[in-house]
Each structure stands twice: as C-alpha cells, then as structure tokens.
C-alpha cells in the first residue's frame, strides 16, 4: 500500500452514484475518523447529513452505506464485521444491519473504510472492487439468481474463490421488507429491509478482493492485546468461552426455553413443549459436521450442517442458529428441526432475514389461527400451528411476492397488519415496525427496555445486555453509578442508566467493528480494551471517557435522524401485548411488563441521554457533543427538546 498517513483506517470513502454510473474516491477526514470512529458511527453521520426528511426509502436519494471500522482486518478479536445503513424501509427511521464473515476485512485490504451508494441504476449492475479498481459492471446475467448462485458465478467469472461477495437474492430484488444482504453465502446484514433498498437501486452485488492492505501503528501491542484479551475471556468467562465455541447460538433454544422466554406460537407463550427437539442434542448428534467462524473469530459459533438422509437429504447450510430454530420452530409451533435447518438455508439463498421473515410468518400464523386471515388470504394454505409442511412454500411466496400471502407478508407485519386492521395489529409483535431478537421482554425485562429505545427499531443488539447478569453490584456501582442495576429480577430506574451505558459500549463494537459476543463478564472487556485497541491500531490516543463522548454523540445523531423523520416518545414503547397479557405458561408464568415502571425508565433514560421528556434532543446536549448544526436544524423544524 502507499503511505497515505493513516493507521487502522484505510483512509478512503468510496462514493458510488448508480444513476450516473460513477465511482469516486473521497479521502477520509481526521475529524470524521476521530469524532465518529468508523462503522456504524460513520454510517449514521453520513445518513443524517445526506438523507433529508421526505426521502423515499426506495427512491434515488436514499443511501446504502457499507461501513467497516478501524480494527476491521487487523488481528483484534472478532474483527470481521461491518455495518450496512440506510433509511429504513421498515421503520421509516434510521436502519442498519451488521454482518460478519470476511467482507469487511476485504474492503479494508482493498483500501476502503466505507462504501456509500446512492441513486438508481437504469439496469442491474454489480460493483466490482479489486484494490484500486472499483467499477460498476453489468449484472443482467445475475438478476433473478439466488445469493448462492450469484456468489458462485462471480467467483467463477473472476477466477477468484478468495473474493468476498455481498449480494441480494430474489427477496431483495422483489423489494420484500424482510430481505437481507448476504455475504459469503450465509452471513447476513439484516433488518430495515436493507436487501430491498439494494434491490430498488438495481445493485445486485458487491464483489471485493483486496491485497493492498492497511497499516497498524503498534503491531506489537495489537498482537499482545489480542493474546491478552483471549486469555482474559478464557479465564473470566471460562464456561462461556468453552460452551459457546462448542454449540454457538442454538444453545439458547434450550436456555431461553428453560427461562420461559422462548417465543412460542408467535409471541403468545414463552415455553415450547417440543423445544428439546429443536435444541442442541438432536442438532449436534445428527446434523452439525463442523463449526465455522467469521474474520478473526475467537470462538467459531457458526454450525455448518448437512442432512444425510430422509426427505431433505443433501441440504447443507451454515450459520443456522437460534433465530432459525425459534423463528421457524417454536414461533410457528413447528417441532421439525430439519424443516428449520432447510428454512434457514432457503433464507440465505433467497436473501431473507430469519428474524424479519419469521416475524411476518408468526404474525400471519396467529391471525390465521384466530380466524382473522382466511384461506383466501393464504392462497389456500393451512397455517395451523405446527403445520410444518408449508413453511418452505411460504418462504418462497414471501421471497417472490407470490399470491395474496406473498404480497401481504412482503410488507412486514406492521404494514400488513395495518392493511388488515383490527386485532391483526395487536398480533404484530414489533417496535417501530421492526422485530427484535427472540427473547421475550416479559421475562428479560431490562433487555426489553433496550428493545424499546433502540434507534433502529426493535432490536436486542443495540444493548446486548449480558453485563446485567455478569457484573457484580460493586462493578455496577462503579460503571453505571447504581448497584441496583445488577438485580436482574427487579426492574428499577437503574436499568435506564444501565441501558444507556450498554448502548454506549455496544456502539464501540459497532464502530471498531467487532462482534458483540466478545464482551461479556469482565468490565475490562468493555472499558479498557476498546481504547487500548484503537490506540494501538490507529496511533491516535483514545481514552475511555473520550469514547463515551463519541458514543453519546452517535446515539444522539441517530436519535435526531429519527426525530427528524417524525419519531418521538410514542415510538419507544413495546408491543401492546407485553404490557397487557401476562405470560400464560412456563417458568415466566404471570410476568408482564409494568407500563408505569416502563414510563419511569423512559423518563430517566431521556434525562441521562440529554433528551427532553418527549425524547427530543436538547440544544445544550447537542452543543456539548459538537452537534450545533443539528440543534439549529431541529430548532428550525420545531423539533428541538425543551431545556429543563
């Protein structure tokens, strides 16, 4: 590589205009790098600055941004991640999806921190990147192909099996809300309808291979801190380190079912009588042949499976995880593990998000079983709980928008429910229209609050609140300022402080671009290593406090984006059912979310975030974070928060 003065960051943003058919390189600025770090930080800032209110998510002015972080492609643990951001087709606000694999590192090695795509191409194209070469190429031969075929064809055409391909399948092409962008066959950037946005732009794929490389400032400390970190996790989280490496996320089927938080028959119940048929015992005895990992992974949580006999003989897949077993299993009352596995692979091929696809399906199943949807709506299909013979057919209908059912589900459950009206809306289990990870908030209450305030709509990963049960009261006192935050069975206002803090440290995962599973029980994993890594990788001295400011800044930029799109406090509540219906069965029996307490949490959360009681950012807070221009704009729009 040429010495462009950057360490960690590649130093270049790639600007793609599909309408004009141009690809330009823009130098990264120091202010951008230091104030927003990278990944989701860059993406959200660019989105706020360039996507104005009134933009049609599917129009030429919406952006699709692929962002890596400064540690992507180094050897920092689990560095293989990147964020795709856009104006969400699902929530109408900020949307992003995060994926793993090797696509992020490849982008960096080719010399790009971020790829910003705008416009709409007159014909299908793909973006070909090989180091300095970055150009749009005809993709008419790829349009209509699924993700796996597309990936195979590009690798074959370019005679390079080491390249990384990020592509959409039929779901994205057909502008399905549940669509994802898939890289390396089975890694998904999902949520927000990112695949549909890419499809609306007629961008079929991005293929990237890079050897130009990046530089790190202090190679010795980059290496030493990596080894130290692995030692820390292996020592302080021994059980996790060993068990998660062995089983990956499917182990949560057994765990959440035991806790009574496994969504069952849509989200009616939290315990599934056949959970053991979907859990790790059958999965690992019969199907999983090996484990795979994303770039720089210190675990390898991704089970690679092959079905050797029976009706699904020959099916393979990867990354089939918790959300497939609960999404196509317990949520639909299906106890056939093979159906779930194949459904997962079908999603990967069609370019569908497990969570969003099964969200729409769970909703439809419940509506059908409650008599709201009839066979006319379902094209004659019987959506009875447990009828697993039609799950794959429904997925195909969803991806291709086939028939009445396909067209309805393609909207996502909130919009579909609005169309049907009445009780159907009650069964749409979304927040801001987006569904979160499958852990029932009536049982994991603080997680639930995190779902509510997440800037991308219902989402468990903005907080990924494991520190709630890992930190001691003393540690909570030290970092959160309130020891009560460690009491996982009692919801107190301390949880608002906890959620704010966790959102901040989780933002560091999304901006350095590391996997969230690396931070667990040790506070050092959240507060010490991120700044140490950044300093070693980039040569710019970072501190814990400084990074907290960056996180506060980006969270407020994201909030401001949503506020500008018309969101406020009313959008931060959970689905009605969780306040109204107590959990009917299982170990979570009787639990529901206390609305009064939830309101108190919101009050407290807005206060510590520097937003007013309606959730609008205040000028004082914005200016403190160097966001005067946002304060001015919000004031003009009469959306500025009231100072106390």
């Amino acid at each position: 590589m040429t010495d462009n003065g950057w360490y960690g960051w590649a130093g270049t943003i790639l600007r793609v205009d599909l309408t004009k058919g141009t690809v330009e390189k823009q130098p990264l600025t120091k202010e951008m790098a230091y104030d927003y770090i990278g990944g989701r930080g860059f993406n959200s800032k660019i989105l706020y600055d360039e996507v104005k209110p009134g933009t049609n998510p599917l129009g030429p002015d919406n952006l699709l941004i692929f962002g890596t972080g400064p540690v992507t492609g180094t050897c920092i643990p689990n560095n293989g991640r990147f964020t795709v951001s856009t104006l969400s087709l699902v929530t109408g606000g900020l949307g992003d999806g995060n994926s793993g694999g090797h696509f992020g590192p490849q982008m960096k090695y080719a010399g790009y921190d971020t790829i910003v795509v705008k416009g709409i191409s007159p014909k299908p194209v793909y973006l070909y990147i090989n180091d300095d070469t970055a150009e749009l190429r005809d993709a008419s031969h790829l349009w209509g192909k699924d993700v796996w075929e597309t990936t195979d064809i590009l690798m074959h055409d370019h005679d390079n099996k080491s390249m990384s391909v990020s592509a959409i399948g039929p779901a994205g092409e057909n502008v399905v809300a549940a669509s994802s962008i898939m890289n390396e066959y089975a890694r998904a950037a999902a949520k927000a309808g990112v695949g549909a946005i890419m499809g609306s732009k007629k961008l079929k794929a991005i293929s990237v291979y890079g050897e130009k490389g990046i530089r790190v400032y202090d190679p010795e400390d980059v290496y030493d801190s990596t080894i130290e970190y692995i030692d820390l996790i292996a020592r302080t989280d021994k059980w996790w380190f060993e068990t998660f490496s062995k089983y990956g996320t499917p182990m949560f089927v057994d765990q959440y079912n035991h806790l009574g938080a496994l969504p069952t028959r849509n989200w009616k119940e939290g315990t599934f009588e056949d959970a053991d048929k979907l859990g790790i015992t059958p999965l690992y005895e019969k199907y999983v042949k090996k484990k795979r990992g994303c770039g720089g992974c210190i675990y390898h949580c991704s089970p690679w499976f092959r079905i050797d006999e029976g009706p699904f003989k020959g099916w393979v897949g990867e990354g089939v995880e918790y959300e497939a077993m609960t999404g196509f299993g317990s949520k639909l009352g299906c106890s056939n593990l093979e159906v779930c596995l194949v459904a997962g692979s079908l999603c990967d091929m069609y370019g569908l998000d497990y969570i969003s696809a099964s969200e729409a399906m769970g909703w439809a199943w419940e509506c059908y079983n409650e008599g709201i949807l009839t066979k006319e709506d379902t094209d004659g299909l019987d959506l009875s709980w447990g009828n697993d013979s039609i799950i794959h057919e429904v997925l195909r209908k969803l991806a291709y928008k086939e028939g009445n059912l396909g067209k309805l589900l393609a909207l996502g459950s909130r919009k579909a429910a609005k169309k049907i009206g009445g009780k159907a809306e009650y069964y749409s289990m979304t927040i801001k229209g987006q569904q979160m990870g499958s852990m029932d908030p009536r049982v994991v209450t603080a997680w639930g609050f995190g779902y509510g305030v997440s800037t991308r709509g219902g989402d468990h990963l903005r907080t990924h609140l494991v520190c709630e049960y890992m930190f001691t009261p003393e540690e909570m006192e030290k970092y959160i300022g309130d020891a009560r935050a460690s009491d996982r069975f009692n919801l107190s206002e301390a949880k608002a402080d906890l959620v704010r803090w966790t959102e901040n440290v989780r933002f560091l995962n999304d901006s350095l671009e590391t996997c969230k599973y690396i931070n667990r029980g040790s506070p050092r994993s959240y507060v010490e290593f991120p700044y140490r890594w950044l300093t070693a990788v980039t040569g710019k001295k970072f501190t814990y406090e400084g990074l907290q400011d960056v996180a506060d800044r980006v969270l407020t930029v994201e909030r401001s984006f949503n506020v500008r799109q018309g969101m406020d406090r009313k959008d931060d509540y959970l689905a009605e059912r969780w306040y109204k219906e107590a959990m009917p069965v299982g170990s979570g029996k009787g639990s529901k979310v206390d609305k009064e307490m939830y309101d108190k949490l919101l009050d407290r959360y807005y206060e510590v975030r520097g937003w007013d009681q309606n959730g609008l950012p205040k000028r004082s807070h914005l200016e403190k974070l160097g966001l005067k221009y946002i304060a001015d704009e919000l004031q003009k729009m009469k959306l500025l928060g009231k100072e106390a």
Partner: protein, 192 residues
C-alpha cells in the same frame, strides 16, 4: 541431529476465521496488513464447509529450492528460509512451491515465506489460545501424524468397545469349544 519442527494442520476442524493469517500479517507483514503479506493463508469454501490453511511445510527436499542468487537456505534446524537481502524478486521459488506457500510482498516485491518465527510461531499461539487445542500445532517432525492418530484412535476406541458388546461379538463364544478342540489336537500330536 537437532530436532526438526513444522506446523501441523488439522484440516478437519479449521473454522476459517483467518486469525492466523491476520496475526502473521500484523506482526510479520513488514508494515502492511494484507493477505498478501501473510506467510500463512487460509482458503475458505463456505458451501462445502471446508477451510484450508496453507503454509510452508519445510519440506525435506524443497521443490522451491531453486534460488539463482543464494537467497534461500536451510538452517541447522531444517527451517527453509529466504534471506530478504539477497532475494532478487525473480519469483521462481513462488512458482515452484506446490502449495503456494511463498508470496511476493506487495511493497518490497521480494519473496516472503514462513520461517516459523524463530521457533515460536505466532499463528500457532493465537490458534491454540482461541480454539484450544488449536488446529495449527507446532510439532516435532518425528511426531508428525501423532495428533491425528490419537484423535482417530479415540474415536475408534468407542466404536470398538461398542462392537465388542454387540451381538456379533457372540462369535467369541465359539472359542468355548476351541479349548476342547485344542486338547483333541494335542492328543493327535498337533502341538508345538
């Protein structure tokens, strides 16, 4: 003779995370972090679930040993090394290695390859830490294959025990009569 070592690879269990490759590029990449500066590379084949680390095997009779300029040598521990000072960048060693384990550094344009980090290979260390016991192992050549043998024997062990308890093992009962047969034979003079 000094004991010779090499990096043994577990092709079945490698997860394809490329930590080894990244660590090599960071610490040994000559200031450039890229797959092109890593002396170990991992080929991934996601649809087959196959991940293949490729690194210098430090062959006993190295096909790459064609350097016209005396830049390649085998040290007293059997490690095949390229002297960057002497390398002229002709790439013939790269072409000769059947595993593609030698690369041309993108900046210096000289040939680079694994030199076992002077006896403490960092790729092995990080792999052992992250994925114990590690799919890369720094082993004595005299122990080549031992790990795979042990692992396979451990697997077979269970199956053999199971087979010994299965009804088929009833054939062992035939031996009850065998003792009588032996006595009869002995009477006939069939005895050693």
């Amino acid at each position: 003779m000094t004991e010779k070592y090499y990096i043994e690879i577990d092709y079945i269990d490698c997860c394809g995370c490329k930590l080894c490759e990244q660590v090599c590029a960071v610490t040994r990449g000559g200031g450039v972090v890229s797959p092109g500066t890593a002396r170990i590379r991992v080929e991934v084949r996601p649809t087959l679930g196959v991940d293949i680390p490729l690194v210098c095997q430090h062959c006993e009779d190295p096909p790459c040993y064609v350097c016209p300029h005396g830049a390649m040598f085998i040290d007293n521990k059997g490690v095949v090394i390229i002297d960057a000072e002497k390398c002229i960048g002709c790439k013939q060693c790269v072409d000769m290695c059947p595993f593609g384990a030698i690369q041309i550094h993108p900046v210096t344009r000289k040939a680079i390859k694994c030199d076992l980090c002077g006896g403490k290979p960092k790729c092995v260390e990080v792999c052992r830490k992250a994925h114990p016991p590690g799919v890369l192992r720094y082993v004595k050549v005299s122990n080549a294959g031992k790990y795979s043998r042990d692992r396979w024997a451990d697997r077979l062990e269970k199956q053999i025990v199971a087979a010994m308890n299965s009804p088929e093992a009833a054939r062992l009962e035939k031996h009850a009569k065998a003792a009588d047969d032996l006595k009869m034979a002995a009477e006939k003079g069939d005895v050693a």
